[in-house]
Symmetry: C2
Subunit: 137 residues, 2 copies
DNA sequence: CCATATACTGAAATTTTTTTCGGTATATGA
DNA sequence: TCATATACCGAAAAAAATTTCAGTATATGG
């Protein structure tokens, strides 16, 4: 019974992790418009990626990595992949060697920029409060 | 060496988990205004809590729980606690029995409402895309 | 031939977040 | 006396997200 439970958990976990690498189980939250929007951008780096690509210029993965050096490249890859699936970003693969690909923000992705902007502005306007509260390392 | 490493990890993990219940280790991300704003609202239910309290009326925890039945009560408690720490919400405890307390959005919390609104609107405007893409259970 | 740069991947480790469970306290009304 | 309602808490389990590691492929330049 105990072993069976452990085994089941292991299998489930394994499967989740596997699918996670390819596709989210529940990619977006359709229950509530607010959670829908949040679920598209709340991963650690997605809002930053949108901010990076907002000018409409295509970027190569290595450029994006350079701009967000704190993020593990693997995560950026995965989050970009999800954003492509969600239609926020489009990807072009050039059949060259060494390989080259580019990510470019879509119309849909651009429509999120005003939200990103407001969050940027809010962060700037209230930075001092939180620096006083949590700052100085 | 191996044991030492495991032990260290254990201690760190334990400590992290313990503090987590009381306070976040790095409560907000001060490195970037965008991540700062995100870090205040990106937890699963925080944006919904703000939306719940936006009218300025104080709410008792049990009312908030009722409005967000999908969230585990424990999480709402913890997220409310963090929001109080961050200054987005204020809490009043009435010295009565059975216990009574109320949460009310602050000025700072209210200043996030326009962002919440924009996300709500975006979610409504683009719901159909994602329902077509990911919907129908 | 060999190191390099590039984009990408699977697997596993680690960290963080969320959930579940079992408990605290005490006035009130049956 | 006893169940009820209320707000809350600690510990641990479970789930999810992130990071790290060790690889794949192949044209190009030394």
């Amino acid at each position: 019974m105990e072993i069976r439970k452990l085994l089941t958990n292991f299998v489930v976990r394994k499967k989740k992790t596997e699918t996670m690498a390819y596709e989210k189980k529940i990619p977006v939250d359709l229950d509530c418009p607010l959670r829908l929007t949040m679920s598209l951008i709340e991963s650690k780096w997605k809002s930053c990626i949108i901010d990076e690509l907002r000018d409409g210029c295509p970027r190569r993965p290595s450029e994006i990595h350079k701009c967000l050096p704190e993020a593990a490249p693997r995560v950026l890859d995965m989050q970009l992949k999800e954003m492509v699936e969600d239609g926020l970003v489009e990807k072009t693969i050039y059949p060259e060697l060494p390989p080259r690909s580019e990510y470019k923000i879509t119309e849909l992705g651009l429509s999120l920029v005003p939200i990103i902007d407001q969050m940027l502005k809010w962060g700037e306007d209230h930075f001092d409060i939180f620096e006083r509260k949590y700052g100085k390392k």
